[in-house]
Symmetry: none
Subunit: 230 residues, 4 copies
Amino acid sequence: MSGSTRRERVERREEAIVQAAHAVFSELGFDGATIAGIASRAGVAEGTIYLYFKNKNALLEAVVGRFYRQLTDGAASGVESLRGTRRQLEFLARHHLVNCLAHWRILELMMLLYGRVPEYGQDGYYRFNKTYVAVFDGVVRAGIDRGELEPDLSLAIVRDLFYGGLEYSARTQLLRGPDIDGIDVDAIARRLVDMLWAGAQRRPVAAGDDDSTVVDRLEAVADRLERLKT
Amino acid sequence: MSGSTRRERVERREEAIVQAAHAVFSELGFDGATIAGIASRAGVAEGTIYLYFKNKNALLEAVVGRFYRQLTDGAASGVESLRGTRRQLEFLARHHLVNCLAHWRILELMMLLYGRVPEYGQDGYYRFNKTYVAVFDGVVRAGIDRGELEPDLSLAIVRDLFYGGLEYSARTQLLRGPDIDGIDVDAIARRLVDMLWAGAQRRPVAAGDDDSTVVDRLEAVADRLERLKT
Amino acid sequence: MSGSTRRERVERREEAIVQAAHAVFSELGFDGATIAGIASRAGVAEGTIYLYFKNKNALLEAVVGRFYRQLTDGAASGVESLRGTRRQLEFLARHHLVNCLAHWRILELMMLLYGRVPEYGQDGYYRFNKTYVAVFDGVVRAGIDRGELEPDLSLAIVRDLFYGGLEYSARTQLLRGPDIDGIDVDAIARRLVDMLWAGAQRRPVAAGDDDSTVVDRLEAVADRLERLKT
Amino acid sequence: MSGSTRRERVERREEAIVQAAHAVFSELGFDGATIAGIASRAGVAEGTIYLYFKNKNALLEAVVGRFYRQLTDGAASGVESLRGTRRQLEFLARHHLVNCLAHWRILELMMLLYGRVPEYGQDGYYRFNKTYVAVFDGVVRAGIDRGELEPDLSLAIVRDLFYGGLEYSARTQLLRGPDIDGIDVDAIARRLVDMLWAGAQRRPVAAGDDDSTVVDRLEAVADRLERLKT
DNA sequence: CATGAATGAGAGTTCATTCAT
DNA sequence: GATGAATGAACTCTCATTCAT
């Protein structure tokens, strides 16, 4: 039944190729990967790949695109199924961390795409990344609306800290060793969100809050005076 | 005079090669760079490079090592010249951000090293990164000691958020466009530290505690001012 | 009606393929042309071409054969409709020149055939070229018979000069630029025949001989005019 | 002694490569030739060829250029050593014919160059061909000056007939069979020049010369009348 | 009969590395 | 020490030809 029409066979083959490319790019990077390697992994001849993709760059584009789509879908559907800003953020953190650990090289390839496919660059990256990040943005905005988060929060900064923090953490783990399974993703995600939450949650406006600023200024004055002396 | 001994001539040549390699790797990436290109940029013959470095990978190792050393030196000396946890952190943020923007590709190469030089990996990365990050860790620990930061803060998490947030921000900027000069590094660094500070600072357990901290710090300033007089 | 029998449909398809091949070979040369390109131009699938022709070489053979047949037919029918050696030669010159300019690459392919299809070579070329050139030979022989041309003329040499001169002229024009339409084919053909005529015409052995030829020809014209009357 | 300096070794190697390329291009044509084949014939590695020539096209350019230079030199020095327009022309005819027979494919490649190397085309062909053909032009002009040849001769036409005739003759011979040695180059060259000479030599202006034109016109009238009838 | 997806050999080209000078 | 010419393995991509549908 399924898979017997020509159209379906073609689609399955294309998917097989992209999957193989994903795996090989992940292992060896873009330049390290070879079309021959991808082809043999996909179970097709070298030439066949060029029936589906114009060249190696186009294949990279397809791999990254597909990955981003899956990443975004996973994030969106997870968020939808959960209630509560905090729990949604923790899910997103886990989701991102898991994917970073499993597909680190693919995320790097996205950067490569920028320099390698001129007509890509801004457009391609932006399209994919914006839709992905929009899920996070939505959660944060909802948190602000519900009064859980500071209203004049800089979305850009929280986003940088959130995704950057997760990626840096993933990178450190990966560089430590290749046994991903031993990593306690849940704990990392929870603690990272904890700290971010502490910085981003709505603070009661108290009179004493401004003190630290005053002290900072005084310290700066002291610094300057010290330097004048020497 | 200077540079006339054989030893010095050799060292200058080696430095020229590493510098050239840094520049070319930065522009073209590791696989995009060619030994010929690096040699011509360094003003030496291709073969000469192999007198100083076993192969292309060793050259990469040297470039990354030198970069990390400079990065660490810059961070350490900057921190030393400043007082105040907050201001030290802001300096480190600026420093890291500036270097990310200027040498992004080199930071990527570090990851490459991991997969490309098997005997590198853990060892090399750890050695360099640990010393670099130690500067940050020192500042945070001092902050905790001074009671400015939450004592049971997870250093790993703050570090991930700090460096990860900066790098994610840098990446976004770089993907947006190649004109680095238009980026307001100061503002980004300050706001990022602001938010992190909010999440990491010592939280008032009781109303009175808050005041005592302020008083403590003010007294410290007074001390310093008094010392200036004498 | 026409074209509905199986036999006719097959023939039309074969003709379409050869026509497409002619066009593509003309534009891109033999090695530059692709079966895919020819197939799409002919409006058939790639595989279909192999139902009609054993391989690319056979297709080349067919194209050259068809071209030579058309060339020969055009020459023969043109000569038949004209009277007078000189005017026939001028027609042949124009005819050859026009076809050289329009189908230069195809003429080159004929040479290719020689090296590419071993069993072709002598046989194929000779068959086609002999029948084509036979038209010219006939005209020249008739001219000799009528006493207009030198009796012990070397047919081979005149032929070489005639066709060679035209082709060399065509090549020069083509190399000068691709705008064929601006070339004054008539003028070139006429002047080339003029010069050849000067070298090939019956040379007066004595003063009287010249006159008698003129008289002979005039009488022939008179005869024809008389016949028209009746 | 000779050949021991680096500079000389490089020059000998370049010459060896061009020679090998000439031979292989001659045998197999441009597309039929492979870099591997040329390299092995030249006794160098494939990569070495790319030290001397940017790519296959550049190699073709070098081969054609070198051939044309040799052709021109041979023509010029031969003409210089002979006296008498007729004998000079016969020499040029022999020279061209011999070279056509020995290097036919190379002459064809020149045409290829036109379509293949865009920045070549007119310029390259013209430069080479003009200098080559200038030798012939000089001989003819001298003949006119000496009163041996018709003063209002069209140089372009004589040239087309001369070179075209020789090339057509060569082509016919080559297509007949590959045993070049059996061809009586001298006889062909002499007879071809004979005929051209007859058409181009200065003719005594006689009253009867215009007769043939008159007859032509009468024949044309007869033609038209005949056609009206049918 | 017709299709067009699949094949895989083979091409041009690059470049890290070596080694005679 | 320094050079840079030489190497050749390896890569990407093309395309004539086949064959299951």
